[in-house]
Symmetry: C2
Subunit: 270 residues, 2 copies
Amino acid sequence: MIGNFATATQVHRRPGSTDTHAVYDAEIAKGWDIVGNANGGYLMALAARAMGDLAERPPLSVTAHFISPGKVGAVTIEVEAIRVGRTLATMRANVLNADGKPVISVIGAFSGPRKGTVQVIAATPPVLPPADECIRTGPPPGSDDVGFRDRIIGRYPAEQVEFRYDRPTGKAEISGWFEFADHSPIDEYGLLLAADAFPPVCFNLDGSPRTWAPTLEMTVYLRGLPAPGPLRARFFGVCVQGGMFDEQGELWDSEGQLVAHSRQLALLPR
Amino acid sequence: MIGNFATATQVHRRPGSTDTHAVYDAEIAKGWDIVGNANGGYLMALAARAMGDLAERPPLSVTAHFISPGKVGAVTIEVEAIRVGRTLATMRANVLNADGKPVISVIGAFSGPRKGTVQVIAATPPVLPPADECIRTGPPPGSDDVGFRDRIIGRYPAEQVEFRYDRPTGKAEISGWFEFADHSPIDEYGLLLAADAFPPVCFNLDGSPRTWAPTLEMTVYLRGLPAPGPLRARFFGVCVQGGMFDEQGELWDSEGQLVAHSRQLALLPR
């Protein structure tokens, strides 16, 4: 049975943990993988759950370095509190596989509730067709479950996913609607997942292979808790250079609030 | 005596260090502080020097969380190699003050030489007046040394630094020319400094106090080694919300190559 996002990111603190050092048992859940490897945002969310548990507050800024693919199965998460202040807690963590090898290494700031008032905003949500006029990628309803792509619904303006037919836009950009397939609410942890849930922007570059683009590093700023409903997301790359590309993301909630900023550095597919 | 950037960021590995765990002695140098607190990019560079020494290669992506102000004086840097691969090494470090309290906590990927070929670029260097027509901030030549502002030369289009006379542009943006005051060459470590060397973009917001804007987190991608000469830099914020603002940076070398991308999350001055 494949659980929802909340159950698939459960973590269990081991006895003997202290206020500053704790070990968590968790599982990379089946159904959240892409051909056997867990989605990067899912891994970040798993680590952040353990860090947020020890910090006793949700994430504000999370950075993950991706070291080895996350295979379905047991992992341990070693969490260390660097400093716990009144409002902010700085935490770091390593997610280790069953062989004790690092999968991701994470640092983050965790913070209690903050006023969401927007004072200045120099960006706007992407202009998207209504969700039902967008292309939903992934397998057709009723087909065999293939993993991660069945856990989320991404709906894209048709021209932005023509790369599937070898007609990329030529511009490192993909935008669309995001929600969980089971309509689970999206909290800070869900935003970490959403920030890495779309096809990589390099898929829209001319001549780019459309295979795995391994993320080296991803940082997500959680700027607000989303209002209910699907998110609007826009991802774009600024520079493809030296075999690497950046992908920046802006995630907006149904009320037009910028709820997350993401940025990653990834290797071009080969 | 105030040393140049290279001598001011020297680190010394302690005997007894291993390939995966090392402790470095270093000093937050006088002259690189702003009213007694070290510049954030300087602290990142100091940590990255130790991490790069253990990794035996320069930084590619560095993230720092700023925990307490860095006062001039001795620090220790505890470096841990999470994984050292053939091309990439993932490292983390804590910089501790003389009391053993964390100043910054850092994670980074370090990488050997990489091809700098630009394949796609969706940004352009800022359009700036010639350096000699820009405003150079900081004290006039010959005045008493006040610290960090005497180590670097920032030259700005006049209208962008009118905030000094309480005439902000109203737009969260500052661009200009950057170089070391002694014309030291700018390597990957110098880029870490340059990414945090300009006044915070919030200084150009209407009604913002122009005092310390504490950085919570900063990530810098080192996309290439700069050609000789001053950098052109553009910093801009996308969202001011909940008492925090982001500041994104693009740094360009004299040949028009994007050499670094930065992003930070900071608290609004109060």
